[in-house]
Symmetry: C2
Subunit: 297 residues, 2 copies
């Protein structure tokens, strides 16, 4: 049931992104996981709007290994061998125009044969140049989606995103945040059906939260200065994904499909030693927004 | 004593690299570590031969924290509070010409006030296009340096490098390897003086192992195809350093100086989904060399 929804979510998002891009279509690769199940990776490269992006569906299963128990920090409720199923949709889009933000979305469901289950996910926006109006409209859609399910969801999951999408080694957030949540299982009056309804709400909120921002900005002019800053910001995106992102680490450590995991990498990235933005520049203004606790709601 | 040697090693290597580059000089930044000591970071960007490179000296000290004990997997020999000193020279060079290999060298010394001490280090070569003669001359210099100190040093430390400089998520080595060693303390008939002599031998072997390869190849012609392949190989270098490299992880996790640690990043890197080399191409030939156990000695 969760898998059926997630497959149709992948289809729907890809259809809308292709229509918006106009230039390229997604390439699809079907693959099998070494321990069972598999995935449907879709990647678009060299598009008019999206320079590189991926929208992945996967549903893998297998025996819970000691490594997985350790990485997930979970203890089975039984002494018998336990199997798991993990399914989700993950996407990262790297637009060509530096006026269009990078975006990431993930919605996932995990269950073990001992009866443990949970949902998790998140959406976050990484502008190359922060446009306050865009950041507010993005958070507004996520806030509305959250509020239909719990009065405290948006503030709690917004704060969680600030803490999660954070480059501690740079003391800066990845972008203007969004929402992040994990291990939403039963309890607090929530059963499976209500949790699943929330996950669908978030999955369905992706297009309304992001596509209007793409449409508004995709034809804005830019030059080499903006592309250079984009290259450095993409370098930070690489740092976050390879150093901090739990999904990436977990995938690489448990022998996941590398090309599907690393579809999140930008087409191109740069590093400069000790780069400082010019005082009063638009780049400095963006840098100043990369902090926790900004009220975008 | 170790610090005196390492400072002069940094000076000597920088002088030779600047003379070879001809275009740019190293910029020097002095910095202090939050818990004591500090470093001397030297970075060169936009040179004629070296597009980006860093040669760092550091000597930091402080109290051994539970985090450090855990990361280093070491148990103090006393119940009293223990302090540490860690000193080393690290370098990574990203040449402009794809015919000149990327190189990395690290020599380091660690001691705690409980009497524990060890040396560690390594040198490894990452060609964009493998030139067998260059790989053999590089390994030859390292083998000779090792053999002056122990008959089994080269085979043991060459194998260690194959295992360490390995991208498990790609099932490929970073390049053609070199040597790697860690935790060389007392024991096996080796006291401090003999270990330190070996470290100096390795530090002093860097220039003779690498600079002749630079001189031989730096003016070879290349085009866009070679630069594109270089960009992808640099992407793999980024993956290794951020996902696997212990020094990078340790530095970022223990609040080290980020800009000094990440001087190892290339100036620029690219990712392409599911890139395959053309059958029979020079790129495929290089890809086929990226495996453990090749006898370059």
């Amino acid at each position: 049931m969760v898998q059926t929804y997630l497959r149709s979510l992948q289809d729907d998002i890809c259809t809308q992104l292709e229509a918006l891009d106009g230039g390229r279509r997604f390439r699809e690769d079907l693959w099998e996981h070494h321990s069972g199940g598999g995935g449907r990776t879709r990647v678009l490269e060299g598009g008019d709007v999206f320079e590189r992006g991926g929208v992945n569906f996967s549903a893998v299963e297998g025996d819970m290994t000691p490594k997985m128990l350790q990485v997930l920090q979970v203890a089975p409720r039984t002494d018998a061998p336990v199997r798991f199923t993990a399914t989700g949709v993950s996407l990262v889009l790297h637009p060509r125009n530096p006026r269009v933000p990078i975006v990431h979305m993930n919605v996932r469901y995990f269950e073990m044969t001992d009866g443990t289950w949970w949902f998790g996910g998140g959406i976050d926006l990484t502008p190359i140049y922060v446009d306050q109006q865009d950041a507010r409209s993005f958070h507004g859609v996520l806030r509305d989606a959250c509020e239909r399910h719990g009065a405290d969801f948006y503030p709690a999951f917004k704060r969680w995103a600030d803490d999660y999408f954070f480059l501690s080694h740079r003391a800066e957030t990845r972008g203007v945040g969004g929402i992040f949540f994990d291990r939403l299982g039963d309890g607090e009056g929530f059963e499976f059906e209500r949790r699943f309804a929330f996950l669908r709400e978030i999955g369905d909120a992706f297009c309304p939260s992001y596509l209007p921002i793409v449409r508004k900005n995709k034809d804005l002019p830019y030059g080499q200065r903006e592309r250079d800053w984009q290259s450095l910001r993409r370098g930070r995106y690489v740092e976050f994904n390879l150093v901090h992102d739990r999904g990436t680490k977990f995938g690489l450590e448990t022998n996941g499909r590398t090309e599907s995991i690393l579809m999140s990498m930008p087409p191109h990235a740069e590093w400069k030693y000790d780069f400082r933005t010019e005082p009063g520049s638009p780049e400095e203004e963006t840098q100043n927004w990369l902090r926790k606790g900004v009220d975008w709601g």
